[in-house]
């Protein structure tokens, strides 16, 4: 009887409301059987995840084992066996010096700190002008800025390459920062506009009444107010710039301008004459900033990502 009743209620709708008394009686009737089933199910659940997790860790294990191997001891054999030495940093320093990774690390750090910061402030300015200052045709301005995200990078590459060559921006740090800022601005404007929409207008009006000018209100009140959103955007864009390969490939060639990932990609070419432990240790170490940033700010990161999409 109880079986048919419960089947019926499941069929009727899983979110149905159930009287408290019935709940207790059913729980009591069902309790003994599922206990074993449930623990088996839980065991299976965790088993599947652990097995998959080991598969996921295997490449990381290989990378670590072979990044720690002395550069000269690498023969391409016994890849799965640890070498017992710790040559991570000496391998990396070979990459920095002989592989010319050094200048790229610094210049990428420069790009990934400066471009997202500029983009965040510029985007916030636009969001402020649109939502708080209520610029005429605000929504159209917003769509113009946000529409910039529609274009795939491939549509921009050829004109940027020739345009940069004509304007002497090709292979210059300013040129790289400019394109990174331009790519980052639409997202920043989008997130900031949404954030400012949710703030009380009285803040602005009372500050204005106190005689502050719009820029002061923006810089002193609105920008500090949107700290969290700013940081979410910054993290997302830092990661984007730090990981960029394509713009670096097309718009730069000399060491000191060429970003990190582009240089690493060139190094990984078999003809570059760099050993596997050097490449792997370099790949491992240059990933640390984004690994730390990502793990420390998972939720904020995810928030920025979902904000970016809708």
């Amino acid at each position: 009887m109880s079986a048919s009743a419960s089947a019926g209620s499941v069929g009727a709708g899983p979110v149905g409301t159930v009287g408290a008394a019935r709940v207790d009686s059913r729980r009591a009737a069902k309790a003994p059987r599922p206990a074993g089933v449930r623990s088996l199910a839980k065991f299976l659940r965790i088993g599947v995840v652990v097995a998959l997790g080991l598969v996921w860790l295997a490449p990381l294990y290989l990378v670590v084992v072979n990044a720690l191997r002395p550069s000269t001891a690498y023969t391409g054999e016994h890849l799965w066996t640890p070498s017992g030495s710790f040559s991570l940093f000496s391998n990396f320093s070979i990459g920095l010096n002989a592989g010319s990774l050094g200048p790229s690390v610094w210049v990428s750090l420069l790009y990934s700190l400066i471009a997202p910061a500029i983009a965040a402030v510029i985007g916030a300015m636009a969001g402020y002008a649109i939502t708080v200052l209520r610029i005429r045709h605000g929504f159209s301005w917003f769509m113009v800025i946000y529409g910039g995200t529609m274009f795939p990078a491939q549509m921009l590459l050829v004109p940027l390459f020739f345009g940069y060559a004509n304007l002497r921006l090709y292979d210059s740090r300013i040129g790289m920062v400019l394109i990174y800022v331009a790519i980052d601005v639409p997202l920043a404007a989008f997130v900031m506009r949404n954030f400012f929409l949710s703030t009380a207008r009285s803040v602005y009006e009372s500050a204005l009444a106190d005689g502050a000018n719009p820029w002061t209100i923006f810089w002193r009140i609105y920008l500090p107010m949107c700290r969290v959103a700013l940081i979410a955007v910054f993290i997302l864009e830092f990661t984007f710039v730090w990981n960029d390969l394509l713009f670096g490939l097309v718009l730069s060639h000399s060491s000191g301008v060429r970003p990190l990932m582009t240089t690493l990609a060139t190094l990984s070419n078999p003809y570059a004459g760099v050993t596997v432990p050097v490449i792997l240790s370099s790949g491992l170490i240059v990933s640390l900033p984004t690994v730390v940033l990502f793990l420390a700010t998972q939720r904020l990161f995810a928030k920025g990502l979902t904000l970016a999409q809708i």
Binding site: P14, G148, V158, L160, G163, P214, F218, F294, T306
Partner: protein, 320 residues
């Protein structure tokens, strides 16, 4: 600050403030607002819109980088659509889109569901989150090392006496595209997992408890309660994956450069090859235009598909 969020007044709440009042507030406010919107608009116009239009125009020209582009009408497009490379490229791109849609999103959802509400779930999820922090370049370096001939995977298969110990994973098409999709899955599962976990944690407890009480458990609980509640989030995640799959470049460029021959090229790689390796900039621009059009069509179809079932559901609900 969060309090402010809660007490925020809707912008378009009452009647629109008359423009007169706005202008009377402070002199030159229009100047301020144009001044503050200008940097964004100028940057986007100069570095995104202008190149976009320039590319569209270049796709109708022959241009080898010297002199000026020569008008060619539809010649690039005619050549493109009769090129056998395009078939391979389109097939690979479709594989990438479907593969990176099904695998990272599906597995992300699976792991999120399996580790949700499990003690130590965060630790169980860590192996899947870590690779997401690696760039496409580093992922390519890692898997280039794992998958190269006589590399770690070949060795492992040999030791375990499994077939495939002498397979050239990166030199055989279409196997190379498939293993690269797995590499991409390895890297990108983390973000989907993270989003799904956050989605699951934000599901109110009441419907789940009620369903449990009603006897729904396991798969049943998932399909009838959890999945419908996750749908809006899934729409976002699938949208992200679609776009990422279409634009696949980094991994393929580093692992195979689109080879051997041109067998593992995606649209993004074909564009780069034709423009920057062969120096046919007009032709490359035509490939970029094709990529843009496909992207637009896919997005529109997706949005339409996403919008329609919900409406039907509402209609039937209202009809009764």
């Amino acid at each position: 600050m969060s309090q402010q969020l809660l007490t925020a007044e809707p912008r378009a709440g009452g009647s629109k403030p008359p423009p007169k009042r706005r202008a009377g507030h402070i002199r030159g406010l229009t100047g301020w607002s144009y001044g503050m919107v200008a940097p964004s608009v100028l940057l986007v116009a100069a570095l995104l819109y202008a190149p976009f239009l320039w590319s569209a125009w270049l796709s109708f020209t022959h241009y080898n980088g010297t002199g000026s582009p020569a008008w060619a009408g539809l010649a690039n497009y005619r050549e493109l659509f009769s090129d056998p490379v395009l078939d391979t490229t389109l097939r690979n791109t479709a594989l990438w889109v479907v593969g990176t849609l099904v695998l990272p999103v599906g597995l992300g959802l699976l792991i999120a569901t399996l580790t949700y509400n499990v003690k130590g779930g965060a630790w169980l999820r860590l192996p899947f989150l870590l690779p997401y922090a690696l760039s496409g370049t580093v992922t390519a370096v890692v898997f280039g090392f794992v998958l190269q001939d006589g590399g770690a995977l070949n060795t492992l298969l040999h030791t375990l006496h499994l077939p495939g110990s002498s397979v050239s994973f990166l030199q055989t098409a279409p196997l190379n595209t498939i293993v690269m999709i797995f590499a991409q899955t390895w890297q990108s599962i983390g973000v989907n997992l993270l989003l799904f976990v956050i989605g699951l944690q934000s599901i109110p407890r009441e419907p789940i408890e009620a369903a449990r009480v009603d006897g729904a458990g396991g798969l049943r609980l998932f399909t009838s309660v959890i999945w419908p509640l996750l749908r809006p989030l899934t729409a976002v995640i699938v949208g992200l994956a679609l776009v990422a799959g279409l634009k696949t470049f980094d991994l393929v460029w580093i692992m195979t450069e689109g080879g051997p021959g041109r067998s593992s090229e995606t649209l993004a790689i074909t564009m780069y090859e034709d423009a920057f390796v062969s120096g046919n900039y007009g032709y490359g621009a035509a490939v970029a235009v094709l990529l843009t059009v496909i992207g637009l069509v896919v997005s529109l179809l997706y949005l339409r598909q996403q919008a329609s079932p919900k409406r039907e559901l509402d209609l039937t609900g209202a009809g009764r």
